[in-house]
Each structure stands twice: as C-alpha cells, then as structure tokens.
Subunit: 163 residues, 2 copies
Amino acid sequence: MTKARAVILGMISTVIFSCNEKNDRKAEIETSEKQEMLFPKGDKVANDKFVGNVYQAILSDDGTRVSNVTFEANGRTNWHNHPGGQTLLVTDGVGYHQEEGKPVQKIKKGDVIKIGKNVKHWHGGSENQAMTHIAVSIDHEKNPSQWFEPVTDEQFTKEISKK
Amino acid sequence: MTKARAVILGMISTVIFSCNEKNDRKAEIETSEKQEMLFPKGDKVANDKFVGNVYQAILSDDGTRVSNVTFEANGRTNWHNHPGGQTLLVTDGVGYHQEEGKPVQKIKKGDVIKIGKNVKHWHGGSENQAMTHIAVSIDHEKNPSQWFEPVTDEQFTKEISKK
C-alpha cells in the first residue's frame, strides 16, 4: 500500500468511527432522557402496602392527593380501595391494573384509568418493565385509601399469564 | 489525482453523507415524537373564558375534575379562581402562570404548580411556544371555577416583558 493510500484509509476509519461514536452518544443521551422522570420520582416506599421496588412523590395534597408513583418491574400495590375514587394517568412504561373480579388490564404510557369509589384493585409494573403514573386520589384527605392483602408472586404470575 | 485516490475520496463523501442523513432522519422522528400528545388533546375550546387557541379534554370528572389542556402560543385562560384549589402538572412546552398581585411565572415541562382556594390567576402558552398541562381542579363538582375578565393582549405583553 502506498503511504498516500494508507493515510486516506486512516481518514475513512476516523470518519466511520466518529460517525458511530456520535450515534452511540446520541443513543446514550436518549436512553438517559427516556429514564428521566417527567415529575419528581420521590422516595422508595418503605411500608407493607407494596410488594417490590416502588417510588412515590406526593405532588399536592389539599383535599385530593396527587402523587407520582413509579413501580419497577414486578413492583405493585397490595389490594386496596379509595372511598373517593381514583384516576391514574400513565406517563411512562408498561404495567398492569386489576379490579377485583375482573381480568387484569395491561396499561401503558398515555392510558387514563378511572377507578370507582370503594372498588378493590391493584396496580403495578409489568413482569419486565417499569411503569410510572400520576395517581389522583379524590377526596383523599377525608376518605383515605383502605389497604388489604398483598398480590402474591403466585397470584401476579397467574393473573398476568391470562393476558 | 490518481483514479484510486478519487475512488477513496468518493467513499469518504458517501460515509459522511450517510452519517448526516441518518442523524437528520433521527431528528425528524424526534420532532414528530415531541409533538405527539401524552394524553388526548380534546376539542378546541369555543367559549369566552379563554383567549386564543386552546384545546381541552376532560379525563375524569367525579368530584375532582382532571383535564388535559393545551394552549397554543399566546393562548390563555381569562382570570379565574377555583374554590377548591387546583394543581397544574406541565407535561409539555413552555408557558406562563400568574396569581393576582404577584409577578408572572415562566412554567415548563415537569413543573407542578399549586393554586390555593379562591386565588385569582391565569395560565397559558408563552409568546412563541405551546404549553400542555394536566389540571386537577379539586372538589370541582361542588365548587366549580369562577370566571372573570380576559387577560388582554396589552396586559399579556406587559406582564411577560417583566420576565
């Protein structure tokens, strides 16, 4: 190979490398943006009302409670109800919601789920993806949520296998 | 230039071109994704409680009202209040919020704004960008919003020029 050809081939490699590097950097930024929260993630919940890894930030709490909740994969609420009802607004990811006596629903970014007064239900991430939702718990101050038994691993696996 | 060098220089141009083309296509996709709505945009509001182009979708309305509101640039509410208070969750864009007697606030994607009971205020898009927020109007069924005078073009321009 002549010296000139070697230099030119070196230039091609540099262009290809910098092009790939640019795209890789972009991919990294997109991944981190995708994982960035729209609203504050809050703290990891440390109580027995949830199974797995769940994060909650209370955004406002004046009569009606507005909170941002992130469930990692397999993270979920126990069975519970809201005497004032609740609206869930899914802002990211994929998860599940189930009302007692009904089939489990797969829920994803952009979905709005309305839960009636005193309806026993659970919600959480899917088996392999996190899910984040805004939860609007209506009239929560006077009528706080009532909490029941956990959704066991066996129940979770059985219910979602029907999807 | 030898024939071999011309061929190699042609290859470099092709690599650079395809690299840029790839990034341009990516940018186009990102732009169209950015313009997609997280929640339904709803219908254009056709009443005298707003100035400019505003879209509203009521997502739930059982005691507390949860709605998705999009203000195009310069679109805004009239002055109004909420006897039960309100929380705004900005999901996209940049706009303004102002409580009576206070300076205008610039608000953007990710911001949470809590408005106290009976506080007279307005909100809308900025002078050159749209803004979308979820509005949680607490106890709206029993205590609906009270509406007052429009924010005139003169008032809008004057208030935002102070930012």
